[in-house]
């Protein structure tokens, strides 16, 4: 499964409003996501907003890759985010035996990692890179046969970081910890 992560914001609270998870429908399709919402809201408001999106995505998904992403978007759009709807950044991947489909919103960059140094994977201007916010229409998905093990997104509005080479450091800088 391709693991999406979102690089932390350059602030004392790098993961305020962040959410991160995955689910699978049996062995057929795996859905994984990383995102942030209400990143400048008070801590409790941001935490609840992130959890709300996370909960919506954690519901069981359909068995087809693209339909999985479409259903995921429907659930995200249905989350009551109020004044924070315009702050959503999200990267999602749906993986099955045939490949990976990738979609997102509010992303400034998507890099590939997990095999050597991180490298830019999505070129500037690609439709996967867009302004933040719950999308009015469902974003498209990029489908590939093979994707890197790690996709590192940078949220729209965040400065471009210098990524560490080590995948564990990449994950740590993206709020993946145990």
């Amino acid at each position: 499964m391709t693991e999406p992560i979102l690089w932390g914001s350059p602030s004392p609270w790098p993961f305020r409003g962040s959410f991160l998870g995955n689910t699978s429908n049996g062995r057929q399709v795996g859905l994984a996501w990383a995102g942030r919402v209400a990143g400048n809201a008070p801590l409790d408001v941001a935490f609840r907003a992130g959890r709300a999106v996370d909960d919506a995505l954690s519901d069981p998904q359909p068995t087809d890759r693209l339909r999985t992403l479409a259903a995921a978007w429907e659930r995200v759009v249905a989350v009551e985010l109020g004044e924070f709807a315009g702050t959503l950044s999200l990267l999602m991947t749906a993986t099955d035996g045939d490949g990976v489909s990738i979609t997102g919103v509010g992303l400034a960059a998507v890099w590939a990692g997990g095999q050597g140094p991180a490298r830019e994977w999505i070129p500037p201007g690609h439709p996967l890179l867009s302004a933040p916010g719950v999308p009015a229409t469902r974003p498209g998905a990029l489908s590939v046969d093979v994707a890197p093990p790690l996709l590192i997104a940078v949220a729209h509005g965040d400065p471009m970081p210098t990524f560490p080479r080590d995948p564990d450091a990449l994950r740590l800088g993206s709020g993946v910890w145990r």
């Binding site: 959410f19 801590l43 609840r48 992130g50």
Partner: protein, 236 residues
């Protein structure tokens, strides 16, 4: 020479008579005399010579001398480095360690070397640094330095005296979420309304569920705290 104790050093040439002055200071200290006025007058006359007497290679480690040195710390700091001065005084007389530390922290609350001094002087390292800076603008950096030094016990204590997220935030940034658990539990005990779980999630990452369960296990006396998160957290 009794007049010296009253601060009258007229006619004295400190550098030429340093050994006489040293002998006088030691004898007076051993006799239990207060050397403060003597040292103040000495500092006005020649602070370099006084620094030699108080903290030089041949300085004598008597509590009376160290305490009198602390009374003229400002003057001594003008002729030697502050960290060098307090380190030397602490080495000369470990018995006065806490007094030395208190003056050092009061005069240099934002200096990084005070944590090393604290480690040597205190049973609970960081206690004086946090106690003296609590309620001041230096508290934030004191928490940070104590966290970087691993002073968990002092950070746990200070949050009980002043319930806020500052010590926990500093600890999580410096040492990670699990090592900071005792401070988190103390924070909840001090004020269960503080946003402990949310703050940790915002610092280390969103999946705090297992960590929060570990925290709840340490805060069993506050069922309301865990209940507040019941619908927000998942079973790890």
């Amino acid at each position: 020479m009794r007049v010296w104790l009253r601060g009258d050093l007229s006619g004295v040439s400190p550098r030429e008579e340093l050994e006489v002055l040293r002998a006088f200071a030691v004898e007076s200290a051993q006799a239990g005399e207060d050397l403060t006025r003597f040292f103040k007058a000495f500092a006005e006359l020649d602070a370099v010579a006084l620094a030699e007497l108080c903290a030089g290679p041949r300085a004598v480690g008597h509590p009376g001398l160290v305490r009198a040195s602390l009374a003229v710390a400002e003057q001594l700091e003008r002729v030697m480095s502050a960290s060098g001065l307090y380190n030397r005084l602490m080495i000369l007389q470990p018995e006065c360690g806490r007094e030395v530390l208190a003056v050092a922290v009061a005069r240099h609350p934002a200096s990084s070397w005070t944590t090393a001094l604290s480690r040597r002087a205190e049973a609970v390292p960081g206690r004086a640094l946090l106690g003296i800076t609590r309620g001041t603008s230096h508290y934030h950096s004191a928490c940070k330095r104590c966290a970087e030094a691993g002073f968990v016990e002092a950070l746990t204590e200070t949050v009980q005296a002043q319930p806020d997220l500052e010590p926990l935030v500093a600890a999580v940034h410096a040492m990670g979420a699990y090592p900071a658990l005792p401070i988190a539990a103390a924070t909840v005990a001090a004020d269960p309304n503080l946003l402990v779980v949310e703050a940790v999630a915002a610092i280390v990452g969103p999946n705090v569920d297992a960590w929060a369960q570990a925290l709840f296990a340490q805060t069993l006396n506050d069922a309301g705290f865990a209940a507040r998160y019941a619908h927000l957290l998942r079973e790890p």
